[in-house]
Every structure is written in structure tokens, then in C-alpha cells.
Amino acid sequence: MPLALGTAAVVLVVLLWELARPRALPALVSLRARLQLRSREAAQIGYDPGRERRAEQRARELLRSCVDHEDWAMYRDLGFLRVWGGLGERAHAAGASYAYLIYPHRPLVAYVPQTGALLNEYCVTFPDHTRPYGSARLPDSDDVLAKWMALHADERRLIEEANMHLPGRQIDPERVRRDLVRLSRWERERSDGATDIVRAA
């Protein structure tokens, strides 16, 4: 009895396979091709450090060509930009009542230049939903330039788009305070350097 059942089961499986084969084989081939294609695509859009480095170099050149020389030097030396608040015609007034620090892929940090008091974090991103290489994230310097342009052109609009938080939500306030000290020292050194050049002349 078990032998008969086993034989019947084998025959049934063979018959089913024979019936399904005309459809199953092309489906299997198609599935295999799709998996190979997906694998190739995944390899193409995977993280490529060389490509990212070249992208960042291009982005740095673009940033340098758009911002003031002093701003470029600030970003190059310190890794962030300072933009005065209350933009428009007062955009470069050192006496502005507040200013922003722009970090790549980090929130804007608003602070009071006179006291160094931190005001808010404004979390804003520029996601490219086309995800050309599998990522929606711009190169660091492009992110900084996008923030710089948006702040200069329409500060209110950018701030309205941002998520506002108290200081410390994403960036350690101690780090920001250290960066403000570095910025102050950097400006003093540049100012002293410029004075020395004038004296030497």
C-alpha cells in the first residue's frame, strides 16, 4: 500500500511538472534575468567613495565660486559658514542681532553674536527624490551652498520650511560654543594678519 501511494505521488509530480513546464521554464528564466538585472543595478548605485569624493570636489569649487572670499576661507578652515541674520540689505552687517552657523547636513544654528547665546536649531534638508545614485543626499558643500543661497535669497521662506528645535536637539551645544570660539580666534588672526601686511607695506 505505501509503495503504491509513493509511486502514485511520483507519477503525479511528474505529470504536474510536464503540464507546468511550458510556463514554468520561461518564468524561471525571466525571474533569473530580473534578479541579475537588480543585482547589476544595485552594484551600479552602491556607495562609491571615489565618486562621492569627486562630487564633493566639484561642489567645493561651485561653493567657492558663489560665496565671498572670506566666507570660503571660513568654510575651508573651520568647516562651517556664518551668515548674518535679518538678511536682505543688512545681510553683511556685523551688528546683526542674530546669525546662523551653516554646517553640512546638520541643522542651521541661530545664535546671538554679541553674547554667543544659542537660540534655535533649524533642521532643513534638500532631498533630491530622483535619487540618481541611490541617495537623495547632496554633497556636503552643495548642501552648504543651498543653505547659503536660500538664506540670502529668502531667509523667511527657508526658516518656515525648517523644523525648529531648541539648541542641542541634533548638535551638541558645547561643540557649537567651541566652534564660536574657533571662529572668533580665526577672525582675530585674519584681522591681525591683514594689519601686519598693511604695516609691512
Binding site: 565660486s65 534638500f126 536660500a150 540670502h152 523644523n163
Partner: protein, 87 residues
């Protein structure tokens, strides 16, 4: 005038280039400009003020772009950023 677009994994790419005083080239620039805005991009025109300071202006129409502008830079529109804590 050059139309540039920031692109993840690449840096900026050149979308179109032409002389706005040449009708065909201007039309090509206008088409590329509209395409980017329709795709949800912001368009900024970097420029220099009379005091030598650099600035940028957001534009919504090609007619708002100064005729002597050298570049228009497109970048993805701003969105409220991540809410996660990432120190």
C-alpha cells in the same frame, strides 16, 4: 548663461548653456528652466552686489533672471529635516 543643477553623487551638472540674445538658445534655456521648476527644484541666481559682496536670489520665472546672469543654479527644494537625534 549656464543652467546648472546640484546632483547627489555627482556635484553640479550642466543642464543647458546658451546666449539669451539668440532666440533659439533662449528658448532652449527657457524649456530647461521650466522643466527643473516643474520637477520641484528651486532656482537661484548667484550675483555680486555693487559693494563687491556676493549674494543670491531665488527666481520663479525665467523672465526674473537678470539678462546678464552667468549662472542659474537649481537645487532640490527645502524640506523640514530629520527629527531623529544624531549627535
Amino acid at each position: 548663461m549656464k543652467l546648472l543643477r546640484m546632483k547627489p553623487g555627482h556635484g553640479e551638472i550642466l543642464l543647458a548653456e546658451g546666449d539669451v540674445e539668440v532666440h533659439e538658445e533662449e528658448q532652449r534655456l527657457i524649456e530647461a528652466f521650466r522643466r527643473e521648476l516643474d520637477a520641484g527644484m528651486w532656482a537661484a541666481v548667484p550675483s555680486e552686489r555693487t559693494d563687491g559682496r556676493r549674494r543670491a536670489e531665488l527666481v520663479k520665472r525665467f523672465s526674473d533672471v537678470p539678462r546678464d546672469a552667468e549662472r542659474v543654479i537649481f537645487f532640490p527644494r527645502a524640506a523640514g529635516g530629520a527629527l531623529r537625534t544624531a549627535r
